[in-house]
């Protein structure tokens, strides 16, 4: 009996804390349905009077090219994740299956890139990208994120678990290295690749500093940068900003709620290896 009470109380506490954690998002969602008068009213409330007031969303969609922002974010995130994984696949393959002078040194050189946090390089990388004429381009927004040392490391660990006999047999049958990598090894490594892709994608989708620095044209902004621009648009106020924020969250929340288990696993699995 006492044990049951304790369990019930723990459950109640857990759910209450869960509500506290989620509260900012709910608050934002509710606020997006308020009229300006309602928002300014004292004392402040959480719930709007009704959910039929949708002018805020309409205003955002009218003043900001939100769909274009989504498209930009999507393009950059796909580009980063794809190129990063391709480069990591090739490098991991070389480190596992080839013997060559300088292998250990090059391996260390690639791994050591993880010790230099990306944000500290942004000012100098900006100069490089600007000199290459890549400002306001998708390539410029992605190119600095193509190095994927941790992805390379994960793939290397994965390749090492594959029996070498398969490769020897395939090579004897006249299969080239590239064909072996992309038609045999890649399908065999699918779970790891999916994990790494999801992880890279989320990271790229959420980036703020770099896309802010290299884009000055409004139509090249990503979602994360674009919504912060809402605060400086004429005629916006708190409720319209919240409406913009809520609209910007739809894809991420959708993916999160439906694929949560997979993503949770992907995120935590990736972090196990640097």
């Amino acid at each position: 009996m006492k044990r049951r009470m304790v369990r019930l109380l723990t459950d109640a506490l857990t759910l209450a804390l869960g509500f506290v954690v989620v509260f900012p998002i709910l608050y934002g969602l509710m606020g997006a349905f308020k009229s300006p008068a309602e928002f300014a009213a004292q004392p402040p409330t959480v719930l709007p009077r009704s959910f039929s007031y949708t002018d805020n969303f309409a205003f955002v969609l009218r003043t900001v090219p939100l769909l274009r922002y989504f498209f930009n974010s999507l393009t950059v995130a796909v580009l980063i994740s794809t190129v990063r994984l391709l480069a990591a696949l090739l490098a991991a393959y070389a480190f596992v299956y080839f013997e060559f002078p300088g292998r250990g040194l090059l391996f260390m050189l690639v791994l050591a890139t993880m010790m230099l946090p990306g944000d500290t390089m942004t000012v100098t990388n900006y100069q490089t990208v600007s000199r290459l004429g890549l400002l306001n381009t998708y390539l410029g927004m992605s190119i600095t994120s193509f190095v994927g040392a941790s992805q390379m490391f994960m793939l290397r660990q994965n390749f090492k678990t594959m029996p070498t006999a398969i490769r020897e047999a395939a090579i004897l049958d006249g299969c080239g290295d590239l064909r072996y990598l992309f038609f045999i090894l890649t399908p065999l490594s699918r779970p790891v690749l999916v994990t790494l892709f999801v992880q890279s994608f989320i990271g790229a989708w959420n980036t703020y500093l770099w896309p802010l620095m290299v884009t000055s044209h409004d139509e090249m902004r990503t979602v994360q940068v674009g919504i912060t621009m809402l605060t400086s648009v004429e005629g916006t106020n708190y409720e319209t900003v919240l409406a913009g924020v809520m609209l910007s969250l739809i894809p991420a929340l959708f993916v999160f709620l439906f694929l949560r288990r997979g993503i949770s696993k992907a995120m935590t699995a990736g972090s196990l290896v640097g």
Binding site: L15, L109, P117, T128, R260
Partner: protein, 288 residues
């Protein structure tokens, strides 16, 4: 067997893309930053001459730098223990699988799905002194992002919230990885909840703990986004961080040598944490 030229070149061709990206966007900027910090650099980024430690002495004499360093360290030193204690507690609450597990885990992991800029804008409204809900709910009259005494606390509140999702999941999977038999046998020997935690669960998850501490420390030392969106370093420099200073002095004012010095200081601070995180990860891999 003698290798042909093509065979000898092949490994390097495979490595080429990775090495080119690493050289161009990690090593080249790093060495350039290093050079800049000891040189006089014009606004176009050309090096005009070697000046020794002059840039550093100039940096250390600036009020903005001591503010940025102080704020960054304060942020990291508060953020990390709070995040760790909070997410570890939440993970403990959720460890036992039961009816509410799916709902609770979704709620605690949710912050992971929210981009920083969205969080910043929501907190801007939530912590607004007049129309925001937090002041009303707790009967406060705090100025939050508009008051130099509370602005940094507001930023820390936000960064802690952002870190909940991911760290919660890491601790949850660590706690669930502790073998049940160990806990059962301890219980049979008469160990209570506290004893089970301190003598069995906690020691077994220390690699995860070390990893979480180090990665969060690096992240906290890199804080700049919320500052850019919410306070622009103010009021009266109370929220200026190192990376924010790098951004304003390098990208904003084209003072590249100053920005380079800030980067090197930040880098030195993170290096220790990164190396420790590496060590923690190695250990974690062995545990599995």
């Amino acid at each position: 067997m003698k290798k042909t030229m093509a065979q000898r070149l092949k490994p390097y061709l495979f490595l080429m893309p990775m090495l080119v990206f690493a050289a161009g966007f990690v090593y080249y900027p790093f060495f350039k930053t290093f050079l800049y910090s000891f040189s006089r650099v014009n606004a176009r980024g050309d090096i005009l001459g070697f000046v020794g430690l002059q840039n550093f002495t100039y940096l250390f004499s600036r009020r903005e730098f001591s503010a940025a360093l102080g704020n960054t360290l304060r942020l990291a030193v508060i953020n990390v223990p709070v995040t760790v204690a909070l997410t570890m507690f939440l993970a403990l609450l959720c460890t036992r699988k039961r009816g509410i597990s799916a709902a609770a885990e979704t709620m605690f992991a949710l912050p992971m799905a929210i981009a920083m800029s969205a969080v910043a804008l929501i907190f801007k409204v939530l912590l607004n002194p007049t129309v925001g809900y937090v002041n009303h709910l707790f009967g406060l009259t705090v100025g939050w992002y508009r008051d130099k005494n509370t602005a940094l606390s507001g930023i820390i509140l936000l960064t802690v919230w952002m870190g909940i999702g991911f760290n919660f999941l890491l601790f949850l999977s660590a706690f669930r990885g502790v073998p049940d038999q160990l806990i059962e046998s301890a219980r049979l020997d008469g160990a209570g909840g506290a004893a089970v935690f301190f003598f069995i669960r906690f020691p077994l998850i220390t690699p995860t703990l070390l990893y979480v501490v180090c990665t969060n420390m690096v992240q906290a030392l890199m804080t700049s986004g919320p500052v850019m969106i919410l306070t622009q370093g103010g009021p009266s420099r109370s929220t200026t961080t190192l990376i924010y200073m790098m951004y304003t002095s390098g990208y904003g004012s084209s003072n590249y040598s100053l920005a380079a010095c800030v980067v090197l200081v930040t880098f030195a601070l993170t290096l220790v944490c990164t190396l420790l995180a590496f060590a923690a990860e190695r250990k974690k891999v062995h545990y599995q």
